[in-house]
């Protein structure tokens, strides 16, 4: 048994898991406040990563400027997407809205291929040192940065929803839209805001993952990978999304380890989360932290 490899994989799992958690939070945020299951979640990552890449390559911006620019772009993109495409769908049957998000997913994937081509691209080097050694482990600097960003996002989500006026308004809207309106909260504004936040935060995750793996179509697969995470955590629980994300991230890597050491089946890394998804749906369909009475689709 290769202990060093196991630890290395666990560290990877934790980093990837935190990112799943972040993406899952965006998914849950949109689901909770607007009752829309967003199948285009992965494309937010893809678009964010490509926009940042374009800003770095074509505009020749320094990394953090390009990063900020892509965040601003994603915020506007999320809000506009809600206003133009999803606002007219309010009150339509859930299945129609789901078809719209699936359509958006296909459309944006194709659009990105059309604009940026099909071959993966990598970011210009951001950090001078590729890896640093902590307690005998080689850890990529980009990993540390993504971990830090994921944690910052989680903490700011906590403060936003616990203490800010708009965060409270979003929670109120998620709880009961009519009551929210009776308090003077504009539900339309809250919807637009939740899509804006989801797009921005997912775009951040896209850039962070792009830094490690390069920008390619595989980023949108993250949007699918996030399903096991949010269903494990409970579709309407933000804490659940984080816990689910970390569990799935670790599990992938442990599955990879077990497979490489003993089973030799291959490709467990990609498949294991979906076995978990099946098992959860069998035994605990509402997830670890989900509310029992949410509507199933």
């Amino acid at each position: 048994m290769n202990l060093e490899l196991l630890i290395q994989l666990l560290v990877n799992g934790l980093v990837v898991g935190l990112l799943y958690g972040v993406i899952g939070m965006c998914f849950v945020l949109v689901y909770k406040s607007t009752q829309i299951v967003n199948f285009a979640q992965g494309e937010f990552l893809l678009i964010g990563a490509w926009v940042c890449w374009a800003a770095l390559i074509y505009l020749d911006l320094p990394f953090f400027a390009g990063f900020l620019l892509s965040l601003v772009f994603m915020a506007a993109f999320g809000v506009l997407l809600q206003m133009i495409v999803l606002r007219p769908m309010i009150g339509e049957p859930i299945i129609s809205v789901i078809m719209v998000t699936i359509g958006l997913s296909i459309f944006f994937q194709a659009l990105m291929k059309w604009i940026f081509g099909v071959s993966p691209q990598s970011y210009p080097q951001v950090f001078n040192t590729e890896t640093i050694t902590i307690m005998g482990l080689n850890i990529e600097v980009a990993y540390l940065m993504s971990m830090a960003i994921a944690l910052i996002i989680m903490v700011s989500f906590y403060f936003f929803f616990k203490h800010s006026k708009h965060g409270l308004a979003m929670r109120a809207t998620a709880f009961d839209q009519q009551v929210a309106q009776s308090l003077g909260i504009s539900v339309k504004q809250v919807f637009a805001m939740s899509w804006g936040i989801a797009a921005t935060v997912s775009g951040t995750a896209g850039v962070v993952i792009g830094m490690v793996n390069g920008v390619s179509d595989s980023l949108s697969v993250m949007g699918i990978k996030v399903f096991p995470a949010v269903i494990l955590g409970g579709l309407d629980s933000i804490v659940g999304a984080i816990v689910g994300g970390i569990i799935i991230g670790l599990l992938e890597n442990v599955a990879e380890f077990v497979d490489s050491q003993w089973l030799q089946i291959g490709n467990m890394y990609d498949i294991a989360p979906f076995y978990v998804l099946l098992i959860i749906l069998w035994f605990k369909p509402y997830g670890l932290f989900g509310t029992k009475d949410i509507e199933r689709i």
Partner: protein
Amino acid sequence: MSQNAVKIQPTSPILSVNNIEVVYDEVIQVLRGVSLEVPEGEVVTLLGPNGAGKSTTLKAISGLLKTEDGEVTRGDITFMGERIDKKNAEDVVRSGIFQVMEGRRIIEDMTSIENLKLGAYTRNDKHINQDIDMVFHYFPRLKERTGLAGYLSGGEQQMLAIGRALMARPKMICLDEPSMGLSPLLVKEVFAIIEKINKEQGITMLLVEQNANYALKAANYGYIMESGKIVLDGTQEQLLNNEDVKEFYLGGGNEERKSFKNLKSYKRRKRWL
């Protein structure tokens, strides 16, 4: 509306509802020409049986009708000289009317303080914490309940709902059945606080109630609705002494004991107009 013509209004109305008709889902007509006036700083009550359209009238005023596919198809509603019947609920809140909805409807997965903060959503000033203390002054027992609002008792939830309305610093509060589901003692307490708030804060109140006894005692003026129309209105005294109101809404009428001979074996039907 022959009664409307003769009534005496001491002050100019802050809210006037003029002959509104309300239709739900574009087919179901609920209100058939409702007019009422609420003078500034007073408590006005709207009484009537189930399904008379009391809540619908309130929702027409607060704009919440639009969230239930209802629409004011005729007439107009003016608040402080400004038409509000076409406004969204959130804009009506900003112009100074706050509705405490039927069944309290507090946000159960938030704490009391968070609920109160949400009441102040439309405000941008820095005095929100002061006003939280003001709410605790009216409802001292809310201060002790720091947990989730969903775990509060019915009476405490009603108090929180009224406190949340105060946080918006409204000119007028519309209360939809504040006594619903409360024990008699709590009803008494809630009404006492409503009167106190009206006197101390000068907030105009429009009170929809089934509990006519308490409502009429708290109110300066009352309207009685039946099947989508106002059928009777008058000052507190006029309504309390009206034989029909006594029989239909206050129960028992006079205090003296009745013999079985005098009891009617059928419910008297009344054509109001």
